[in-house]
Symmetry: C2
Subunit: 336 residues, 2 copies
Amino acid sequence: MSHGSTPKAATLHDVAREAGVSLITASRALSKPALVSEKTIERVRGAVSRTGYIPNLLAGGLKSKRSMTVAGLVPVISVPQFLPTVRALTETLDAAGYQLLLGQSGYDHSREEKLLNTMISRRPDGIVVTGLVHSPAAREQLQRLGIPVVETWDLSDRPVDMMVGFSHVKVGSAIAGFFLSRGWQRLGIATGDDHRAMMRCQGFLAAVGHEVPSAIVPAPSSLERGRRALVELLEKDPHIEAVYCSSDGFAHGLMIEARSRGLRIPQDLAVCGFGDADFAAHIDPSLTTAHIDGAEIGRLAAQLIIDRCAGKPIAQPIVDVGFRIIERQSTAATAK
Amino acid sequence: MSHGSTPKAATLHDVAREAGVSLITASRALSKPALVSEKTIERVRGAVSRTGYIPNLLAGGLKSKRSMTVAGLVPVISVPQFLPTVRALTETLDAAGYQLLLGQSGYDHSREEKLLNTMISRRPDGIVVTGLVHSPAAREQLQRLGIPVVETWDLSDRPVDMMVGFSHVKVGSAIAGFFLSRGWQRLGIATGDDHRAMMRCQGFLAAVGHEVPSAIVPAPSSLERGRRALVELLEKDPHIEAVYCSSDGFAHGLMIEARSRGLRIPQDLAVCGFGDADFAAHIDPSLTTAHIDGAEIGRLAAQLIIDRCAGKPIAQPIVDVGFRIIERQSTAATAK
DNA sequence: CTGTTAGCGCTTTCAG
DNA sequence: CTGAAAGCGCTAACAG
């Protein structure tokens, strides 16, 4: 509210002078008001608004060793799957004064290490990664950093530090078990080729007990690829009864292709997706799928980082958020 | 590769000592190799890998006044619409060494100013906002900052600084014109209530020349709300012929509801969306929609910031990326 | 091509 | 409760 042009941004030094106190008192008035008298705080506050002062977190972080940033690594930003997690991360961290530094690690691990270095050069106070950190070099580097790390959207018995996720193998088994319990015998798989999707397939096949026809596409899977995947599956088994798809968008594509070929869902073909995307409940027929609380993963991961940074003890460094299969019309039991 | 535990991260000081050169020479060897001899560079490189040194950009930025970060403000992260833009921003900036600081401004403007202050406290080298900056206080603050600002996904004649977008009014007019050219008379609108969507409605109505039945929902619109919106429109006009929807997901919901009511698309009801989401071409019937190159918006916005930071002159500070209507089955001409 | 001298803006010591 | 000194890790400016 003071000047018209750009006469250099006000620093804490200016605020202190304006308020007639020392630099450090101004600093304390703003960041540790408990140590300063009411009256001084008032005067500093006044000086702040008169000068238009906005703190420089970069400078503060240099000395205090706290950048108030958290790095977040996702395979690709445009995959809807992780959106609720990224959103919850952003919001939970923001509420605690942290800024998320979002980075794309890609689906191959080569970029992971490079991105990690880029991130580390900004000295984040914590790191959240999507999936497990597999590369030994990256694991070692993360451990040596000495900052809280949360691996998400998966579980293992070798956490780098903390974990918030669920078992993909169990999801696969549960879906297979569900299909079998409905009496479907001729099963199929349409899946992306990323690690987590493949783990679900592994669980699926283990529960079924034998190989099944499958269409494997490069991650990320999409509606378009779903249409083509059904074509591939029908070639392998024209009488296929139920298909598990590695994502809801993928499943949606399969269903559209099925309809355009005159196949009725679920009478001629049952379909189960993964992720419970926002459209899953509202397409016609509605889609049976495995629901994951992605927002909860983001909230918990953020909170673990925040608590660790605050020095609080972590009661549960590995959290299984579980999943549940939501039965909808695409697998409704019907007389054939 | 040197130690097993955490003996404090190596600094440039350590590298310089290890390489047997001065601090500043080590600095230059890494960031301005042109000023240093081959041999010295080699020695510094060796010292870097032996010490496991990772630069501290926070410290460098403090002196050089370049944080190598760019703030990006979107209404909400989970709206698919802006994903390609955010992704292109991330990638283009990353390639130039910049980190995107993503923030959610929400659909109401109250958070915009607060978020802006949070962002400014991290001293970004540039700011990209989605939509126009409306609040006078925020506009003034941005101008005073003296860093490049790009407003995106819209155009106006009062840019804060630079702009990359298109005219929402023209999109609305174009869609209305398209409907009219097909001979549809009884038109309808299903729209979210955000500023840009309302501008499209304005253009639509101006082209039609009179009011039309409309269903307005709180932004962001969704598939679920689309189903309900059709119900509302049919109550207002049971013989409605063509509906413009403010997003593709929204339009998809309308189409699903139409089908479940036995309405054929496009014979009984034509539908046009907005955004050309990835599924638009692949649902059945495929969806006519206005295509916007969101990735291009992100790339251009990032490049403007990068160029400005590099001191390059900007040939065109306001870029109209345009749009085009993609005609698909949902508006196919048919004998009724 | 290399080095020395000053800080960037703030917070952590340690004294009053 | 307040202050003075020191320095976080790095780079810009000037000297050699």
